[in-house]
């Protein structure tokens, strides 16, 4: 049995009085795309940050590529790419410099970095903006740049928080196609969050519902009406919560 690329077991995290996550389990296998869906404040970003070691869990355990996230070193992190909430914000750097720097910080040598930077610029269709400062880009192009910085080193694990945010319909299609190809051909484990249920239904192998910091099980991406199933699950959880109170 292979170890999961990402694993959270009974993870909880509180911010002051706010219980951001409670007893959440998650497992993403190599070659699998798992989507986290939920309303604003459901805990999607918090769970992703815990998986990437950006936040510490109050209780529970988090593993990445079979290693506890707190003890993961360069060998593990060099195989991970991520984009959490906002694309890179160094407004003074050009598109090329941003992607180049992201690759260099993942311990790639200069010549490999140059090659992968050029390939990634083409892959994300950023050639026209290659030497433009990040601060001068539209929101959609900044989002594409953010995805480029996450994937430039060809990671085995990708954690992307709402990757299709601000992208035009063509951009959404291309990102979806790219992630699907990475998962199928390179066995990359992909965890994405999204508000767009139709979109994740077309891309994900599994859809996990988070609501008020709790996992509400999974939805079938091939189901007839994913949106209806999602709201039914959320309403049921709210009714149950109200009844318990």
């Amino acid at each position: 049995m292979t170890c999961p690329a990402l694993a959270a077991r009974a993870v909880s995290r509180r911010f002051g009085q706010e219980q951001a996550l409670l007893d959440v389990d998650l497992r993403v296998e190599p070659g699998e795309i798992v989507a986290l869906v939920g309303l604003n404040g459901a805990g999607k970003s918090t769970l992703m940050r815990l998986l990437l070691g950006m936040l510490h869990a109050d209780t529970g355990s988090v593993e990445i590529l079979g290693r506890p996230v707190r003890g993961a070193g360069p060998a593990v992190w060099s195989r991970v790419g991520h984009l959490i909430e906002t694309p890179p914000r160094y407004r003074e750097l050009t598109v090329r410099e941003s992607i180049y720097s992201a690759a260099r910080l993942q311990a790639l040598d200069r010549s490999t970095t140059e090659r992968l930077t050029a390939e990634t610029i083409t892959l994300l269709e950023l050639d026209h903006w290659r030497d433009r400062r990040t601060g001068a880009l539209s929101l959609g192009n900044r989002q594409r740049l953010g995805i480029a910085t996450a994937v430039v080193h060809r990671p085995d694990v990708l954690v992307l928080d709402e990757p299709s945010n601000t992208l035009d319909p063509l951009g959404v299609l291309r990102v979806r196609g790219f992630l699907r190809a990475r998962a199928t051909e390179q066995r990359t484990a992909v965890l994405v969050s999204s508000h767009h249920l139709d979109e994740v239904a077309r891309m994900a192998d599994r859809i996990m519902v988070l609501h008020r910091g709790r996992a509400l099980g999974e939805l079938d991406p091939a189901g007839a009406d994913v949106e209806r199933a999602f709201f039914a699950r959320v309403l049921e959880a709210d009714r149950h919560r109200a009844a318990v109170r």
Binding site: H56, W77, E85, T86, R89, R104
Partner: protein, 254 residues
């Protein structure tokens, strides 16, 4: 570490705070010093001339460089304080912190690289300023003497000591997650230094020792500044670097 330094160099090369900070010191310190020197040499009597005379020990190149050294200690603390606060605080203000996590390059390397680049920039700025002051003195017709070169070395050391004393502001900017806290702390440090220097209790205060050593409190006070008192500056700086690295090692990207 090499990748982290390369990354920080790219950012610093594009950052106006480094360019303008260096330009202000490299042009401002010689400008003020030469102005004081010319005023003092004019022989006129005015409050400005009287003030210039208090800063100048003698009307030689050594005197000019000594005056520049005094101004340089204040200028480098201010410029390095702003640069350090901005360098660390901007990561939070620009929402760039999550991108510094989950990388093959550790956060301790990233923080170390920031300090390395800041120190290199401070050294280049200090040395260039002292060289410009020497050239300005030669242009004024002052002869280059061994005494002037000795004071130039002392001014370079004092400027560097003042610059590295700004590194604790990086910790303040990190802990408070923004550069404004660093700027406020810098103002407080400058005010406190002035107060302690004025009361004569400054030489054990690391932020006052370099200025006093350059003669800001007069020749008698300068002679009393000991090597131990000056050594407190790199100790404070090293402690700040270690504490900042430790803070980033345990920090969360909220």
């Amino acid at each position: 570490m090499r990748a982290a330094v390369e990354f920080e160099l790219i950012k610093a090369g594009r950052a106006p705070v480094f360019r303008w900070g260096a330009a202000s010191v490299v042009l401002g310190v010689p400008g003020i010093s030469v102005l004081f020197f010319v005023l003092a040499r004019s022989g006129r009597t005015s409050p400005a001339v009287a003030k210039a005379m208090t800063l100048l020990t003698d009307m030689s190149l050594a005197g000019l460089v000594g005056t520049a050294g005094q101004v340089l200690t204040v200028g480098m603390l201010m410029a390095a304080g702003i640069a350090a606060s901005w360098s660390f605080g901007r990561e939070f203000v620009d929402d760039a912190v999550p991108a510094l996590f989950a990388l093959a390059t550790s956060r301790s390397s990233l923080v170390g690289a920031k300090f390395l680049v800041l120190t290199g920039w401070a050294a280049a700025t200090t040395i260039t300023t002292v060289v410009v002051v020497l050239l300005a003195g030669l242009a004024l017709g002052l002869p280059l003497t061994p005494a002037a070169l000795a004071v130039a070395l002392q001014a370079t050391a004092a400027g560097l000591l003042s610059a590295v004393l700004a590194w604790p502001l990086a910790l303040v900017a990190s802990c408070r997650r923004g550069y404004l806290a660093g700027f406020v702390a810098l103002i407080l440090v400058v005010v406190l230094t002035q107060l302690l220097t004025a009361t004569g209790a400054g030489s054990w205060f690391p932020y006052a020792a370099p200025s006093l050593w350059m003669g800001m409190g007069g020749a008698e006070a300068a002679a009393k500044v000991s090597a131990t008192q000056l050594a407190l500056a790199p100790l404070v700086s090293a402690a700040a670097v270690a504490a900042t690295i430790a803070w980033w090692g345990h920090a969360e990207a909220r």
